[in-house]
Amino acid sequence: MGLYTLRRLLVSIPLLLVISAVVFTLLQFTPGDPLDAYIPPDQVLSAQQREILKVDLGLDQSKPVQYFKWLGRAVQGDLGYRIKNGQPVLAELGRRLPPTLLLMGLGMTVGVVLGIFFGIIAAVKRYTLLDNTLTFLAFLGISTPAFLAGLLGMYVFALKLGWFPAGGYQTPGQGGVLDILRHLMLPATILSVTYIAILMRYTRSSVLEVLFQDYVRTASAKGVRSYRVIAKHVLRNALIPVVTVIGANIANLIGGAVFLESIFSWPGTGQLYLDAIDSRDYPMIMGTTLILAIIILLANLITDLMYGLIDPRIRFS
């Protein structure tokens, strides 16, 4: 397994190179460069000031030179500086990753637990009113964009019911664990909605497939309690496709978090990313893309390794 992991990690390196090159190329096709974004439409800058800025931002060099300079520094762990405030890109990312991981972590945990739970229920009670209701809710959940769910959730739970604060990470001047948790609950729950819905559908169909296998019938026939049959014999075998879905949806989760962060004024990577794109902040965009790509690649690796834990029949070679 160690060798397998190492090989996977090594394969990731050329992949990251390709990703960075593609993103850099796409950036060059985006209209407007950092200088256009840096200067508001009605701010007068002299040609001299403009030239100074250009040299400062490294925009006076040719595109390939810009890319390879970036790459040369990136492999040494230096992702450059954010144009907006001159802070190191890594420091800016480092500050925003914990809130994002917190949001994604809780959203994912809630999503996985509830998704699998409801999925099993729906499969066991298949074609009943309960199953149909859950199916209906699942489709509603899958088809509601995170953006809309976020605004609706904020309107209902923060404004009308007043259960949660209307966005933010902490109350200015406070910021204890409980305060942050109070701010976290609503966006994390909303983030989990799509996840619950998707996982519920996959779990349901996967459990249904296993439910009629001979070994399940055998287990029931020899008198194993039904919850044990489900937990041990059914779930263990039904989980493989579900784990695949969990891993594959990490990218979706990040996408959802990007929008939710900006709705909930959550100071995470998503908000930083949108801001970087708005201001054509090349180093910031490249840096964020790289880190997010690494996270997704790692998540996929972990997913693959999980197979072996769940199903001992799977061997890595």
Partner: protein
């Protein structure tokens, strides 16, 4: 034991209430006048509402933008035909770190702005300063190469910076320096406390403020990426103040939040690439104006919250009587287009950086109205960097944009004078009318108020006749403030410009 426990509880309770301080939390950088997360007063072109809470300027406007009075300067005189300004500074002003504020700080700040390495937006306004003298700690003499009547106006947005803290940092490093975000020192009513990136900035009261100690203890500026989120926070009471769009204001009921409105001092216009042969014939530009039913748009879409304008200045003082109102007349518009030989099958792209719903509605309505007289337009919504890149070049025909036109009409100089055609400035429509250039130059050079007024009135007539832009209207802007605040003064100035909001008197229940 019981008694001591009771006493302890009691003590803790009183401790809790004693530490409860007065806080005002606002979204001061929300909306078009804000610059969230940007703290360099030299390079900022917006966000002055917030910056002036901890920095001060030499002079400032009243909230109605009628009169300029002193802030750090207690008085000033203008001599030598408008080429020499002498400022007498207020006595006993101290920087937040206790150092005395002197004329050297003023000279240092102006020099810094004029140093190209600092990347300051003020360089174009202070460019003709030739000499800055400080004959005493309380006197600053500024000498200009030619008269500039708009200097005072520019100074209302110019924050004075501490020499003792900044002279050690190279101007180049200052542009994006950490100083602005970590420990800035000003002379304003509040002192910097901390910045929590993407979340909020917190200031605390400056007990030594030269106009008196603020009534509240802390002032917090919260950031919202989404306007809708700020609106919900204002409604739920998490926030005491925010900028509001016209559509936002309609969603408020009850009396917990008071809606403040004021002129935006921004004129919306259809701008034409003046070098494009397509719209060279003035009859086409007239036809466009007459085909648009501006009264109906103002009434229906703006809910009356805008005023029709017919030249780039909207301050009534500078709008002469008898300029052409280009009344809505479809038939005339059709005839004008025909006379100009307009090709009905042609579609003109209209570029805009506006992305709000109101602007979308406005553009679709204009598209319909122009379609009725046989002119096809296609609105194209882009973000600011894209807009800047396209209009910096020559490959466009028409835009829908807004331009700050007040309080002093000199603000329009870099947008209409041919010296400022890109890459040298922001005359993005490439307007090149020598008579217009002269009027703007006159407006700067003459010191007599009546002669200035006359120059800008002529500027208004001329642009009204020649239509380098089709100016449409000037809208109001809005803010919402929690009714528990008292003495709160806010007005939607362009860029959040500097006016006397007496923040040291703001209070909350």
């Amino acid at each position: 034991m019981k008694r001591s426990l009771l006493a302890l509880t009691f003590a803790l309770c009183t401790l809790g209430s004693a530490s409860a301080d007065k806080v005002i939390t606002g979204a001061f950088d929300q909306g078009p006048g804000g610059a969230p997360g940007q703290f360099n007063p030299l390079t900022n072109t917006a966000g002055f509402t917030w910056l002036n809470k901890y920095y001060s300027t030499l002079v400032l406007y009243d909230p109605a933008f009628k009169k300029i009075s002193g802030d750090l300067a207690s008085s000033w005189t203008v001599a030598d035909g408008g080429k020499k300004y002498t400022f007498v500074l207020r006595n006993g002003v101290k920087w937040h770190d206790g150092e005395a504020f002197t004329s050297a700080d003023v000279k240092f700040s102006l020099d810094l702005a004029n140093n190209p390495d600092s990347g300051s937006a003020f360089a174009s306004k202070f460019g003709n300063i030739t000499k800055i003298q400080t004959p005493s700690a309380r006197t600053v003499v500024i000498t200009l190469s030619k008269p500039n009547a708009a200097l005072l106006d520019a100074l209302t947005n110019f924050m004075i910076l501490p020499q003792h803290a900044l002279s050690k940092i190279a101007p180049k490093d200052l542009r994006n320096g950490a100083w602005w975000r970590t420990n800035p020192i000003g002379t304003g009513p509040f002192k910097w406390n901390k910045l929590v990136p993407d979340q909020y900035v917190e200031l605390v009261a400056n007990p030594d403020y030269f106009r008196g100690k603020p009534k509240i203890d802390r002032l917090v500026n919260r950031y919202f990426k989404e306007q809708a989120a700020a609106v919900v926070a204002l409604k739920s009471g998490d926030l005491d103040f925010s900028y509001l769009s016209l559509d936002d204001t309609k969603t408020f009921s009850g009396n917990a939040v008071k809606i403040i409105s004021g002129p935006s001092q921004v004129a919306n216009y259809l701008g034409f690439n003046n070098t494009s042969p397509l719209l060279k014939d003035v009859r086409v530009r007239q036809a466009i104006l007459q085909a648009i039913d501006r009264d109906t748009i103002v009434k229906q879409l703006y809910g009356g919250g805008a005023e029709v304008a017919n030249c780039p200045v909207t301050n009534s003082k500078y709008v002469p009587k008898g300029i052409n109102a280009y009344a809505y007349n479809q038939e005339q518009a059709r005839q004008l287009l025909k006379a100009a030989g307009w090709d009905n099958s042609r579609t003109v792209e209209v570029l805009t950086y506006y992305s709000d719903q109101l602007s979308k509605d406005v553009l679709v309505t204009i598209q319909q109205m122009l379609g009725q007289v046989g002119m096809k337009i296609a609105p194209r919504f882009v973000d600011v960097p894209t807009y800047n890149q396209i209009t910096g070049g020559n490959d466009f025909t028409m835009v829908y944009a807004g331009i700050g036109n007040g309080p002093d009409p000199d603000t329009l100089y870099p947008s209409l004078h041919s010296d400022f055609i890109p890459p040298n400035g922001t005359n993005r429509m490439k307007v090149n009318i020598s008579a217009l250039n002269k009027l703007f130059e006159q407006g700067q050079e003459t010191t007599s108020t009546s002669a200035r007024t006359k120059a800008y009135q002529e500027m208004c007539s001329l642009t009204n006749k020649q239509l380098p832009w089709d100016v449409l209207w000037s809208a109001k802007r809005f803010g919402g403030v929690n009714n528990k605040l008292s003495n709160f003064i806010w007005t939607p100035a362009p860029a959040g410009g500097r006016y006397d909001d007496k923040a040291y008197l703001w209070d909350t229940k």
